[in-house]
Amino acid sequence: SQELEQSPQSLIVQEGKNLTINCTSSKTLYGLYWYKQKYGEGLIFLMMLQKGGEEKSHEKITAKLDEKKQQSSLHITASQPSHAGIYLCGADSVTEGGADGLTFGKGTHLIIQP
């Protein structure tokens, strides 16, 4: 099955600082999704990347997928308290005979210090 490794596992940054979260796959990514989860709640969709080298931005969050389509990064500029939460990367499961749904990494816990 496809495994997604996220780093770091947790991150504490001062408000206003920039930060980057990484997601690495053991296999080629055919669809890479970034979600945010507030503790004990559902997931909020942030962005989807499909093409090698693709980059998307929404407000102060930018996500990139590398040319080989095995690594993605999520970059937050000038972090705010509202950015705190758990960031998860997910990928389409394309394993033959495997379940047809998104596989997720373990998440990165982001804390913003005032």
Partner: protein
Amino acid sequence: EADIYQTPRYLVIGTGKKITLECSQTMGHDKMYWYQQDPGMELHLIHYSYGVNSTEKGDLSSESTVSRIRTEHFPLTLESARPSHTSQYLCASSLHGGGTEAFFGQGTRLTVV
């Protein structure tokens, strides 16, 4: 904002009880999913459906069962709840399979005592 709803949000129930977790979406999505997530841990796919009368098991084995009689409704049932079933259950739906984002409900936090 996603139109996918889960009820109840929180449930505390005794061992041996039968429970049904409800999930409904009003987006007309064919694909629906159930994920299980223990506190601080990753999400695991336990069930999914391609459409009406379609149900499939996910990557993680689960004692729960699901049904899909209507497009908008994908309930999950535990015939006899046990403490090991204590977890958060998240429902999601998507328009198609790969290449489209999934929308998630708020989750049901289940505690079996």
